[in-house]
């Protein structure tokens, strides 16, 4: 068994741009916004950074391919900059690479930046992806809402839930995230909404309505990591360290075998088990203090609470309606508004999730600061329920 990443790497500094329809900002501007904050937070100069990883998803909008867009935008001192991409989970991949570089001893200080500029397409929703030459010849010209909406049809069938009850629970998920996002000055969507609004909204992909879908946002986030020893030597206290960093990627089983029932995300369960093992978490429902999950759609958040073994299987609806995941609940979920309201600049989202966990653990989350959160979990899902990359991270205080 590998020894794992627990407490080997600490967060030295983080930054996050304001998310939203940033008509004012280029992707380079967004990167500078997040990086400047992270650099100031870390209290270091650029020449102290040994290597960098860069997450951005879209090729044909935004900045294109390669490491140079980040190297040039941030005027980095000719260090290695590697572009990583894993659908919507790319931000977590950039962090994982930087953390592993530090843990290996190859780097003292490493940087991860994620950025996405989605609002240069001219239309709403996510840009159309390029998928190679084979997939367009047989695979539906599918869009994300319908890929995730299928969780709802299978979840209903598996648990004997009627559409109205599921819609109501999904509505609660979105109402909660809007209430949280309203308190976050960097969030894209800051208006509270009502359950009626959610239930009466136009259908985007049956049964998901407009408010069941997250924002499509521009934004960037940055994370600087080092060893706990170096962080302390740099004068840092109240360190936040990585307890677990796990990724599980589909191998085709879900899509091609006839065994997966379509009502959950298989990789999330695998990554969650590994992450709890790595972090030493025995009873997630008792030990996880807060979480940012990949709530691209309300149904995703709902089934994810089960995939993380926090709600019992088939029990997410009850927990959601009981307020278990509300800001005042046992495990606040999406306390920063989540993808739903903070926004979802694809390549940045995984780092944004970590940013909130970091702020909360450092008690710097302003109006939305929770009491005394201990372990924070991020769940960053790239792809679609039937084939995806799922990244789960757990962070906490170094001395816990």
């Amino acid at each position: 068994m590998p020894r794992g990443i627990k407490d080997k790497v600490a967060i030295l500094g983080m930054g996050c741009s304001r998310f939203g329809e940033r008509w004012d900002a280029s992707p380079e501007d967004l990167m500078v916004e997040a990086y400047s904050e992270a650099l100031a937070d870390a209290g270091i100069t650029p020449d102290q950074i040994d290597a960098a990883w860069f997450s951005t998803h879209m090729d044909d909008i935004g900045v294109g391919r390669g490491g140079t867009p980040m190297g040039i935008a941030l005027r980095l001192p000719f260090i290695g900059v590697t572009r990583v991409e894993n659908f919507c989970a790319g931000g977590s991949e950039a962090v994982r690479a930087a953390v592993y570089a530090v843990a290996s001893g190859a780097c003292d200080i490493a940087l991860a930046v994620g950025v996405e500029k989605l609002k240069d397409t001219g239309y709403g929703g996510l840009p159309l992806p390029s998928v190679g030459t084979l997939i367009p010849q047989w695979y539906p010209n599918a869009v994300a809402p319908a890929n995730f909406a299928q969780l709802a049809s299978a979840y209903q069938a598996k648990h004997g839930v009627n559409r109205a009850d599921l819609k109501r629970a999904m509505a609660h998920v979105s109402v909660k995230s809007h209430a949280n996002g309203a308190l976050n000055p960097k969030a894209h969507l800051r208006k509270p909404i009502t359950e009626e609004q959610v239930l009466n909204a136009q259908i985007i992909a049956e049964p998901l309505g407009l408010f069941d879908c997250c924002g499509v946002s521009d934004g960037a986030a940055a994370c600087i990591v080092t060893t706990p020893e170096i962080a302390k030597a740099l004068g840092k206290t109240n360190l936040v360290t990585f307890k677990a960093l796990q990724v599980a990627v589909s191998n085709g089983w879900e899509m091609h075998a006839n065994e997966w029932d379509g009502s959950y995300v298989h990789t999330a369960r695998i990554a969650a088990r590994r992450a709890y093992e790595e972090a030493g978490v025995k009873v997630p429902r008792d030990e996880i203090g807060m979480m940012e999950v990949h709530d691209c759609f309300s149904i995703t958040e709902l089934v994810t609470t089960e995939d993380l073994f926090i709600s019992p299987e088939g029990g997410a609806i009850r927990d959601v309606l009981d307020g278990f995941y509300d800001a005042s609940g046992k495990i606040p979920c999406q306390i920063d508004g989540g993808l739903k309201c903070f926004g979802h600049p694809i390549g940045a989202s995984g780092i944004r999730m970590l940013y909130e966990m970091y702020l909360q653990l450092q008690e710097r989350a302003g109006d939305r600061q929770l009491g005394d959160p201990r372990l924070g979990l991020t769940h960053n899902l790239g792809g679609q329920p039937s084939q995806n990359a799922c990244s789960i991270s757990i962070v906490g205080h170094y001395d816990d």
Binding site: Y123, P140, A142, A149, Q150, S153, A154, I204, A257
Partner: protein, 495 residues
């Protein structure tokens, strides 16, 4: 050795467009269309073309895989072939997952192309044996507010010509070729130019058709009075009975041309009517089929004692019962590309097909052939060199496993209105196939409320995308609810 029809099938698209709706949309401009504003015409879905309809008719004529001797040839007759230079019958061979040593031929250029194709197939069988599938289909363009728009329909039919298990013996064929231009369509044009009906009837049909009929009867050694079923697809009302009378065929032998239900479906219409006749014919019935165009061609068949043994998969009656009446005239125009609807920016996506990729994966894409691991029994789509079972890391253990004839059930689905799709909302979902295999696949011929988790589906060969820039058509398979159930739902007003 007797040569004749050994199998037959038909295909009629699900939509039936109300002629009253066509009239109402155009009444301001062409009030005289009111005379034709009765009944319905068949309307191909946006993702159908003569190739896909011919494949549907061919599949209708071929009982499930394995139970039918291999074909030696495929002939496709159509005046609206999707490709001017790409063997259209070759696309059919790929879709039907036939062996690559099967001959293929496109026949086109006249309204008697289907009988010309039958005649070629008969000759081929007599010379070399074998079983030759003849399919015929048309999807014709018409101008708005034209009579053709009302008269035409879309559809296809297929017969298999062979010499074992003959259902209807081919007794004779006869053709006369006359450059009688009742209508024409220049290369590159999409709508026919038609001369006056009275001249076509009096100078054309009445004078040219009897020559072909007489020649065929003489060859067969029969008299006109011995004909039990007279098939003559024509747009002109009553002309079939008039011609029958003129040549001495009993008036009640004239087969109804189904103008009221589906309209005239073009090159395939005669074979479509023939498929209807064969489904109900008694042994020993004499069938004379006539097609008029660039002269005329007649063929005579006599049913055998085996006629009642063959059942097409759904048959003409089954297709006729599977219907959804539609009153949307703009849908009709949009499906045929004659009305440019706003697609939005999402409609700008390039649909270029990598032909190299298509060729490498032709069995999987065109024939819907999966790979079945002989070690685990698991079915993989698309097939792969490595199977997904972590326990099974053996290389190249998958055998071809065709899925097109297998039923499937919906595991999960959605219907979305975000992507550009010609028939919104866009339905797709995961299908689990009987015997294994799972594909995330588009659904077609469905509307809101037609599907749910667990709905039983079958797959059909359709147009996946049209590349408007390069003119290429990309084909793939889509799922539709098992048709008998859909027909019940449609007829009870639920669909």
């Amino acid at each position: 050795m007797t040569t004749g029809i050994v199998a037959f099938g038909a295909y009629v698209p699900r939509l039936r467009l109300s002629r009253q709706a066509i009239y109402e949309a155009n009444a301001w401009y062409a009030p005289n269309l009111k005379a034709k504003a009765k009944g319905t015409r068949s309307l191909a879905n946006w993702d159908e073309d003569p190739i896909t309809m011919a494949v549907a008719a061919a599949r209708d004529s071929l009982p499930s895989a394995g139970a039918f001797p291999a074909l030696s040839g495929v002939v496709l007759a159509s005046n609206t072939l999707p490709f001017a230079d790409r063997l259209n019958a070759g696309v059919m061979i790929a879709a039907l997952n036939l062996d690559e040593d099967v001959e293929a031929l496109d026949v086109t250029g006249s309204r008697r192309a289907a009988l010309s194709a039958v005649s070629q197939a008969v000759s081929r069988n007599k010379a070399d044996g074998g079983r030759i599938l003849v399919a015929a289909a048309d999807l014709r363009q018409t101008r708005a507010a034209s009579a053709s728009e009302m008269d035409f329909g879309d559809g296809a039919a297929a017969v298999v010509i062979g010499d074992e298990g003959v259902l209807a013996e081919h007794l004779a064929s006869a053709a006369v070729t006359v450059d009688f231009v009742d209508h024409f369509r220049a290369a590159g044009e999409d709508v026919d130019y038609v001369w006056e009906e009275r001249w076509i009837r009096d100078e054309g049909v009445a004078k040219i058709a009897p020559r072909a009929i007489k020649a065929a009867l003489d060859k067969a050694g029969l008299t006109a009075g011995e004909v039990d079923h007279f098939i003559f697809p024509t747009l002109f009302k009553g002309i079939d009975a008039q011609l029958a009378k003129q040549v001495g065929i009993r008036p009640d032998a004239a087969v109804d041309n189904m103008a009221g239900q589906i309209g005239d479906t073009g090159v395939g219409h005669g074979l479509l009517l023939l498929a209807g006749v064969l489904a109900d014919a008694r042994p020993g019935a004499v069938i004379l089929m006539l097609e008029f165009g660039a002269g005329a061609e007649a063929a005579i068949f006599r049913t055998t004692d085996l006629i009642s043994r063959f059942k097409p998969r759904r048959g003409l009656a089954g297709w006729l019962a599977r219907l959804k009446e539609d009153r949307s005239y703009t849908r009709f125009l949009a499906y045929r590309g004659r009305l440019e609807l706003e697609k939005g920016m999402r409609g700008e996506q390039d649909k270029k097909t990598a032909l190299t990729t298509l060729y490498r994966h032709r069995k999987a894409i065109m024939g819907l052939v999966a790979g079945r691991c002989r070690e685990t029994g698991k079915v993989h789509y698309p097939p792969s060199r490595l199977s997904y079972d972590p326990q099974c890391s053996a290389l190249d253990t998958q055998d071809p496993h065709p899925l097109a004839d297998r039923r499937a059930r919906i595991l999960s689905w959605s219907a979305e209105s975000l992507s550009y799709y010609p028939a919104p909302p866009h339905h797709y979902g995961q299908l689990d196939f009987e015997g294994g295999g799972r594909i995330l696949m588009e659904f077609t011929d469905v509307g809101p409320g037609d599907v749910e988790t667990g709905t039983e589906m079958e797959v059909v060969f359709r147009v996946k995308d049209r590349d408007a820039v390069r003119g290429f058509t990309r084909y793939f398979w889509k799922a539709v609810p098992i048709s008998d159930r859909a027909a019940v739902a449609a007829n009870s007003g639920a669909a």
